[in-house]
Subunit: 248 residues, 2 copies
């Protein structure tokens, strides 16, 4: 499986993707799920992918081919708005899924879900989730984050930690807390983690990778787990007397 998070902050965007893929427990691999396109100086796109790995790879290959094919009317270099990029990715995703769906037991098996984030020209940067059906939604203003893949395990951290006014430093901590909690709960999500930080107007992505077994990651994981355990201990004792209504 997969876990990708994108966050829209006041000053820009933060992306984190895990890299674990599996086709059965005897076929576990590491694949990049955070992809960057800068097809013109005035624009930057980040694509995060979840779902069928073959579909996501073919979608990326077609996007790249479209960028150098003079016959193609629309590509990431020509779109005028981020939502057009999302629709473009969604249309390719639909084409690829349909091309192979006959060989799958259910249509669902061949699908992929994407997050498309970035900035086109002077438009505000944004993040959009592209469904397998080819349509999209934006992140909401109240909860300016999107998740794809194994979204449930780490949702709570994002719910309470990501809101308007969060800066890059805090946003990145919250997102990594969510990723570490998911990785601990589900072996199909794991490091290396690819991190991208986008500052509004820069049209460039600062990227780095958190490798598995790195001392800094181990320190983070221990800090997070140990302190969370302490925090649960610090909760006031739960006593029946505190709750007026009887259970029976």
């Amino acid at each position: 499986m997969t876990y990708c998070i994108a966050v829209r902050l006041d000053d820009g965007l933060v992306f984190v993707s895990d890299t674990r893929t599996n086709a059965g427990v005897d076929n576990v691999g590491t694949y990049r799920k955070l992809h960057v396109f800068t097809p013109a100086p005035d624009r930057l796109f980040v694509l995060q992918s979840a779902g069928n790995l073959a579909t996501t790879q073919e979608v990326l290959d077609r996007i790249r081919r479209d960028l150098v094919d003079p016959q193609v009317a629309e590509n990431l270099a020509t779109v005028d708005h981020l939502f057009e990029a999302a629709l473009y990715v969604g249309a390719i995703s639909q084409e690829v899924t349909k091309a192979h769906s006959g060989a799958f037991k259910t249509t669902r098996d061949a699908t992929a879900t994407f997050i498309v984030g970035g900035q086109v020209g002077d438009e505000a940067p944004d993040i959009l989730l592209v469904y397998p059906e080819g349509n999209y939604i934006r992140a909401s203003d109240d909860r300016p984050f999107l998740q794809i893949g194994e979204t449930k395990y780490g949702k709570y951290m994002l719910e309470i930690g990501i809101h308007t006014g969060v800066d890059f430093v805090t946003g990145l901590k919250v997102v990594l807390s969510s990723m570490m909690s998911t990785s601990r709960s589900n072996v199909s999500v794991g490091p290396p983690y690819d991190i991208g930080i986008y500052e509004t107007g820069s049209h460039q992505l600062e990227q780095f990778r958190v490798p598995p077994g790195s001392p800094a990651l181990a320190r983070l994981e221990h800090f997070w787990g140990d302190r969370l355990r302490d925090l649960m201990d610090q909760l006031p004792p739960i006593s029946p007397a505190d709750f007026a209504v009887d259970a029976n």
Copy 2:
């Protein structure tokens, strides 16, 4: 949906169930999902249920009917071991599901999953998860907890907080942390929460209910959310320089 947790501690068992059910967002209800049976002085059973509400109710009704039907060879009063109680519940669950499955689109729609916990005679207390297929598993020694329903949102808290040696006071805090995190992440899980505490050898369950809107619950939720947010802030800043390998 539903979220139920059962934990096996050194001194006994802890059970927490939410009470929210929904058949579409326009039909949300409150139903008890933690049920207690004490069919003889030497035994106590706790049943927690998730899945099709009609199936769970008919299963409970059949269990009660079996207890007063002299024609019935096996019931919760006659079983010699907790695993036999689990198989008995599983067999009834299978019968009920099969009786109604013809009217459902898929067999899956009519199924239910149960946790059966408690103590029979002098046997060690235990908790077992009964699958819709009628078979069961115990909680493991390393992670002595079971979950049914919406299990993903609150798994991390149990993973790091529940282990051998945890006492009732701490166990209850961990379990409520998991429940509050789930409820915040998914509106299909919510209070009242039914809590049961079983002390080994007592053959009696201490029960109480945490009602929605109670000041004590609000205090717990705020403490948990606020402190967790603080904890994320306290994580050391995540800097690319800390991670040796470059992302590209």
